[in-house]
Amino acid sequence: MSLPPVEPWVVLAFSAAIFFVGLFGLLVRRNLLIILMSIELMLNAVNLTYVTFSHQLSSMAGQMSVFFIITVAAAESAVGLGLVIALYRTLKTVDTDEITLLKD
């Protein structure tokens, strides 16, 4: 079996697929933890587009961006999870259906 080499747009399409799977999870799940995981999925999808462009354009800027994104993502999940814990302690739940402070 010999497949033709993968075109860059296929990689980009794949990363878009992961991105929208994550987005879908973000929209439909009600568990804050899963929502955070979906956000991680989306971040990874974006990273992949960066690396793909870096590959496609023979430029290091994309990979440098990914490096910084990973750093920010680490910070983000630390703070995000901290928020989840704080929220849980206040409201005794991580269910977004019950967290409707914006309405009240």
């Binding site: 080499p5 794949f14 899963i34 991680e40 999925l41 990273n47 800027a61 630390a78 704080a86």
Partner: protein, 191 residues
């Protein structure tokens, strides 16, 4: 631009797609978390195929390692595995709407990716050039401490802020101001 190995790519991509769907749809947060780990590993593989070796390594270290440990730790800590978290609980109309919006946007994106040629001119860092310069890691490291030294240093500030923020958020706030040494000791003991 070197050609991308199709077999390795489709393998990793398939695994990643399958486990990402599982991450989103699994009822149990722990299984979601472990599916996510699989996605991260597959991504590391794809990075490697694309020649981004340092990023692949960092992906394994930071995402699959540190961040995932954090997630699993919090999941265990909250231990809130209840049926109410099932995504099926959200209204059907909402689920259909979300799915349709995501699918439509996906179609649009793919169309753009497929039909729009890159407008930027290729840079100097071809695979051969990178190899000649001593490999991906070396090139990135040199760039990091020359051209990108300022953002790099700023990142450390960001991380510090994140640490402080995380500690401040996770810290249990005492209900009342400690009025005496005894009160302070009591709060400390309950921690």
């Amino acid at each position: 631009m070197t050609a991308i190995n199709p077999i390795a790519f489709y393998l990793f991509a398939g695994v990643a797609l399958a486990f990402s769907v599982m991450t989103v749809l699994r009822k149990n947060p722990v299984s979601s978390a472990f599916s996510l780990v699989m996605v991260f590993f597959s991504f590391a593989g794809i990075y490697a195929i694309l020649g981004a070796h340092l990023i692949a390594t960092l992906q394994v270290l930071v995402y699959a390692g540190a961040i995932m440990v954090l997630f699993v730790f919090v999941v265990m800590l909250l231990n809130s595995d209840s049926p109410s978290f099932d995504f099926r609980r959200t209204p059907a109309l909402f689920r259909v709407a979300a799915g349709l919006v995501c699918a439509a946007l996906f179609v649009l994106f793919v169309r753009v990716f497929k039909n729009s040629p890159p407008v930027l001119t290729p840079g100097a860092f071809t695979a051969e050039a990178v190899d000649a310069a001593g490999g991906n890691t070396r090139v990135i490291s040199e760039l990091m401490f020359s051209e990108y030294v300022l953002p790099f240093e700023l990142t450390s500030v960001l991380l510090l802020a994140a640490i402080v923020g995380a500690v401040a958020l996770a810290k249990r706030h005492s209900v009342a101001k400690p009025v005496s040494k005894k009160g302070v000791a009591h709060v400390a003991a309950t921690r």
